[in-house]
Symmetry: C2
Subunit: 342 residues, 2 copies
């Protein structure tokens, strides 16, 4: 049984929800630990204006909420749209998101954000338009499903390869959220007793493939005497972290340590994604995230190859595709939340 | 968000399908590589009669089909029911099952069963009642969901720990079949570069927890000079294989090699089931299969503990429960197929 392509003209249950006035614009916000990315998006997914700001380190949830509002205003200006003409604003957030209540708790990469905070209500006050919340990775998956590389499929997993490794799931054209915290493909155990993950556990996929874990490992290896240009490239580019761009440059220079660590990351992604496919037998896996987007198709091809030895149904592999919406996928996906609540 | 208990009085979509005349009896067959287990089952899941026969090694698919028919007849006699009063017969089969076409192919643990074979049509001819097919593990999962330990839950995975490690999935009260081959939790990669599995791949959960793999490993360890009573117990009990009963006896005698290998199996099951839960965030995992059923609750508790270090949402673990229907779960689940097609 091979993947059934969705007809271009078909309107899925999800798509119907997103349909409304032809010219309707919506705001979408991808709230990250480092930056706030806002976009004003048309019904067909076209980005009419965007803006980006660093996530403030001071001021707690109130400070972050104010920064989100400012960034959305800026994106609306860039789109030439008045804020009060937006159908609504969606926010894709890390942490424990309660979509119904409009609250976010335990967003550990945001400042002082342990307690439950009424983000939707506070942001709606500041903006004067309705606000809807969703999980950051799930909305990015939904964006790829509705508007990106996932369009031909009814079932898929989104794999976001960046600082961590996040995942989202669509089954039978609908998001699968489980008890509210599905998609943690980054915490698939790919090696019992293996490398320690940022989450504290051993042998997680993210311990090998997450950018934060890879940077920590690279620092340890340098202390042990290994040579690499990674940190020189970082310094030259004025970065404090090994960004996706730094990894990309080091790989292009055939830096042995970078090549070794990215090789392990690809191997771990191959094992983890293949395990998810063996369990769910979805039609496709869509690979995005900061590193996925930056390294692009040649590395998606390497992940395809790394999955092969582990796929139970190896004669009929799923499609494995690069995310189409790039860095804006999260904000575009968040704008779909506004649409579905409108 | 904790698991929502299904109300006892509620009728799920699945249950509605199974409802029909109060006294209706159905046949169910669990077709395995070693034995054919047939049962005649009432609407409420009560087994009215059962019969068991070895799976014939000669005669190919026709021979097996004849043996299934004979075993169903015997179960009907045991139930005091005429064959032609059965609503239908369901068969849970290994291999590539096409439920719509009523065919089975690539059933590699059945004799000479590579090509597609019209099992439903041939068996219906022999029995004179309608026959429906399903995947053996998925029907056993469905049985636990509808009538066994899975009753309180809307989403679960079934994990069948026996010769291999099979899995079935129920999401939002419905089986999730993917592209027709979901549930291969036994081929989750728990250790990149790890032990070779019966499937030929490296590091699969089944390579550590499947009875066939554990026996192969035990034989290698004996050749290397390790001591164990496993093979003495096997010989004394007139077995040719390390059956679940043999493992159980050796564990009760604190046999070091058996204890070591079962410890590794529990560790692999913990990692693999936790990974599946991290991905799907289901309410429950139901542990059955020959070994699961034989070793029972104390080992389910060990699996619960082995999952803990790997669960991303460790403050809110899923329920992990022993399968309630035991060895007859597969046949009972198959009888539900007959009901849903009736």
């Amino acid at each position: 049984m091979s993947a059934v392509r969705r007809e271009t003209g078909s309107v899925s249950a999800v798509r119907r929800e997103t349909g409304s006035a032809i010219d309707a614009l919506r705001g979408g916000v991808d709230l990250g630990g480092t930056k706030i990315q806002a976009a004003v998006v048309a019904r067909d997914g076209e980005v009419k204006g965007e803006a980006r700001a660093p996530t403030p380190r001071d001021g707690g949830p109130d400070g972050v909420t104010q920064a989100i509002a400012d960034t959305v205003r800026e994106a609306a200006e860039a789109a030439g749209a008045r804020l009060d003409t937006l159908e609504g604003v969606g926010v894709g957030s890390p942490g424990a998101v309660d979509e119904e209540a409009g609250t976010v708790a335990e967003a550990r990469n945001l400042p002082d954000w342990e307690e439950e905070y009424p983000l939707a209500a506070r942001l709606a006050e500041l903006l004067g338009v309705p606000v809807a919340l969703g999980n950051d990775v799930q909305v990015a998956t939904q964006a790829e499903f509705e508007l990106g590389s996932g369009r031909p499929y009814h079932s898929l997993i989104g794999v976001f390869w960046g600082t961590g490794v996040g995942g989202g799931i669509v089954l039978d054209d609908e998001p699968w959220l489980g008890r509210g915290a599905s998609g943690e493909i980054g915490h698939t155990v790919v090696k019992i007793g293996g490398r320690r993950c940022g989450c504290g556990r051993l042998g997680c996929l993210e311990a090998y493939a997450g950018r934060a874990s890879m940077e920590a490992k690279a620092r340890r290896m340098v202390e042990e005497g290994h040579k690499t240009e990674l940190f020189e490239i970082m310094a030259k580019r004025g970065r404090e972290r090994l960004t996706s761009g730094v990894w990309d440059r080091a790989l292009r220079r055939d830096d042995p340590l970078a090549t070794h660590l990215i090789g392990q990351a690809v191997e771990a992604l191959g094992a983890g994604i293949a395990s998810a496919v063996n369990l769910l037998d979805v039609e496709a896996a869509i690979v995005g995230g900061g590193l996925g987007t930056r390294l692009g198709e040649p590395y998606v091809e390497r992940i395809r190859q790394a999955m092969k030895p582990h796929l139970f149904k190896d004669g009929d592999p799923p499609a494995v595709e690069l995310a189409a919406l790039g860095d804006l996928g999260g904000a575009i996906g968040a704008s779909l939340l506004a649409a579905s609540r409108a």
